[in-house]
């Protein structure tokens, strides 16, 4: 056997420049663990892209009925405005549903593959593992957003008038205001292994009350108040204004403030629950069970 490299008494694992370390780990989690594994399931890739495209045309057909002058809705006689409404809703709601679903799913698949123990055994902190794990899902949603907006603009006549600063801030806050709940959902799967009531509930609740497919003003007054508890509602309101009407930061300030409040409350809550769950599974000895 060829002589292996000699071993010093202290660990020699690289103490890298922190920025380089973050970039390297982002690459490893996103392109190696995320993209390379995802892309190796060709049928899944095909069905995912189909899942981005089909709803756009489905709601386009539905728009014909909803915007009929006799329908009595806010969009009656104005099909263009409804098409723009749902195209933006579809393009951005994926960030939220994927945060709720994929992060939890990721924890679950690491449990199933037996790699979770090795992830948590490394000096990379559990919180950082969680953060890096989100990047690929978000990247995929940027791609989905591009495809959906492209179809909207290219084929369905959606006209964009973008206020970039307001759009970027709204987009970032749309993600961060839902992040805490996503961490909560993934902590739940770490604990319960199968079945994630939080993710299922949040996804349904968000789609119904988040103003994705129809404005919350369409809801009966007795339940419309619930929509104000859904941060996506504020996120989509701000994104639509900044993307379709060129409204600047001042015009969407109220939505931004609400999303900031959600961010400030739910992220510490989610992280605290994640820490508690991680401790719990290490006491119970169920970290690697599935």
């Amino acid at each position: 056997m060829e002589a292996p490299p000699s071993f010093p008494s202290a660990p020699r694992s690289a103490r890298l420049d922190p920025v380089l370390d973050v970039l390297r780990k982002t690459y490893l989690f996103t392109f190696l663990r995320g993209w390379a594994v995802w892309f190796s399931y060709r049928a899944q890739v095909f069905l995912t892209i189909l899942g981005w495209v089909i709803p756009v045309f489905f709601y386009f057909v539905l728009a014909g009925y909803l915007t009929n002058p006799t329908s009595g809705t806010a969009f009656a006689g104005s099909p263009e405005s409804y098409v723009a409404f749902f195209v933006v809703g579809l393009a951005f709601q994926g960030f939220v549903t994927s945060l709720y679903g994929t992060l939890a799913q990721r924890i679950r698949s690491e449990q199933m593959m037996g790699t979770l123990e090795h992830l948590l055994l490394s000096p990379t902190s559990p919180g950082a593992v969680l953060a890096y794990s989100m990047v690929f899902g978000l990247m995929l949603n940027v791609l989905a957003m591009g495809v959906i907006l492209g179809i909207g603009v290219g084929f369905l006549g959606v006209h964009l008038a973008v206020s970039w600063a307001a759009l970027i801030v709204s987009g970032v806050l749309l993600v961060t205001s839902n992040l805490g709940m996503a961490i909560l959902a993934s902590s739940f799967i770490l604990w319960t292994k199968q079945g994630n009531p939080i993710a299922v509930f949040l996804t349904l609740y968000t789609e119904l009350f988040g103003g994705v497919f129809f404005p919350v003003s369409f809801l009966p007054r007795s339940v419309a108040w619930i929509s104000y508890l859904v941060p996506l509602n504020f996120g989509l309101s701000a994104v639509r204004a900044s993307l379709l009407s060129g409204v600047g930061l001042g015009g969407v300030a109220t939505d931004l403030i609400w999303m900031t409040v959600y961010t400030a409350i739910t992220i510490p809550l989610g992280l605290a629950f994640f820490r508690w769950t991680l401790r719990r599974v290490r006491v119970d000895g169920t970290l690697a069970t599935y």
């Binding site: 008494s9 790699t115 992830l119 490394s122 000895g285």
Partner: protein
């Protein structure tokens, strides 16, 4: 020599599983029961024991994947509960499961991913990994998907992942399980050469007693959560032994002289002894870390006491015999009790 792994009074009890009110309550399970152990830097400590005895639990507590119920464990001075991140940085773990890599990634991608979590870049990884990949015969399959690997290749890759990290402490759980004899030999040779050369501390759990016989400096047996020292002392290699003596004297007399003298001495280098009356005389069995040094001292005492030794037979510890002997009464581990 400084201590690398320090375990004191460590207990791990798995709480009872949650049940509905009408279901019978499941009892909690104590996997580690007041375990105390010190492993010195550069030492290879072998853990044997039946399935479910607590070997893997001990490795998982040390690697911070499990929280102990009470007691203390330190790796290179870092408490595994209070300073878990520092402790983790010093450890590489090889589990006995093949499910520890991504099946859709190839060998290199898997290595790059896991080594990257430790801050290891691609070039440095390749430099460290190549000698191992070559000697373990993995070099030609590194661009193949992990899912196409045989069990032996999967186990070997897990070793390479642990070796390239160059951590001062290695925890090995069943290193040669499900390997053919040639691969097992190769793994044992690699562990022996690399860890000795690097002065790496190894805690090795094995059902394959050959692994422990060939590699360990000292051996302990886990049984029902207790750690029973099989060989104590230590040195540069596995040089513990057992002495069998036959005396003409009755067992009570041998016990009164030799047994009480050993007890009084409280010799840490004599792990334990047994005195049995047999047809051919009284048989004394002594387990000691360095028979050549300790037996002359004991012999002098035997002769001074007027005992009549007939025959002395010296041999290495038979781990299989030890394993079976310790199975029924694991709790009874003190020299006085034996």
């Amino acid at each position: 020599m400084p201590v690398a792994i320090e375990i004191s009074d460590l207990t791990k009890t798995f709480p009872s599983a949650w049940t509905l009110p009408w279901q019978p309550r499941r009892p909690s399970t104590t996997a580690l029961d007041h375990v105390t152990l010190e492993v010195r830097e550069g030492e290879i400590y072998g853990l044997i024991g039946p399935n479910g005895a607590g070997k893997t639990t001990l490795l998982k507590v040390l690697s911070t994947l499990l929280l102990p119920t009470s007691g203390m464990a330190r790796v290179l001075g870092h408490d595994v509960v209070r300073e878990e991140r520092a402790a983790r940085s010093s450890i590489a773990l090889v589990t006995n499961s093949e499910r520890s890599f991504y099946y859709r990634l190839d060998g290199w991608q898997n290595l790059r991913y896991f080594a990257g979590l430790y801050g290891l870049g691609r070039r440095e990884l390749e430099r460290r990994a190549r000698p191992f990949l070559r000697s373990l015969g993995l070099e030609r399959v590194m661009h193949r998907d992990y899912r196409t690997y045989s069990t032996g290749m999967q186990r070997k890759l897990a070793f390479v992942r642990a070796f390239v990290l160059e951590t001062p402490v290695l925890l090995l759980d069943e290193p040669t399980s499900s390997l053919d004899p040639a691969s097992a030999l190769e793994i044992r040779r690699t562990i022996s050469e690399v860890c000795r050369e690097r002065h790496q501390t190894v805690l090795l759990s094995a059902n394959n007693l050959l692994d422990v016989e060939r590699l360990a400096d000292r051996v302990g047996m886990m049984s029902s959560g207790h750690l029973i020292p099989i060989t104590e002392g230590g040195g540069a290699g596995p040089e513990f032994g057992m002495a069998r003596w036959l005396f003409d004297d009755p067992p009570e007399r041998v016990e009164a002289l030799l047994g009480s003298w050993l007890r009084r001495q409280g010799r840490p280098d004599v792990a334990r002894w047994e005195i049995q009356g047999r047809a051919e005389g009284t048989r004394v069995r002594l387990w000691t870390s360095d028979p050549e040094v300790h037996l002359p001292l004991i012999l002098a005492e035997v002769l001074r006491g007027g005992l009549h030794p007939q025959r002395l037979d010296l041999r290495g510890v038979d781990l299989e015999e030890e394993f079976l002997r310790n199975l029924p009464a694991a709790q009874d581990v003190s020299p006085e009790a034996t």
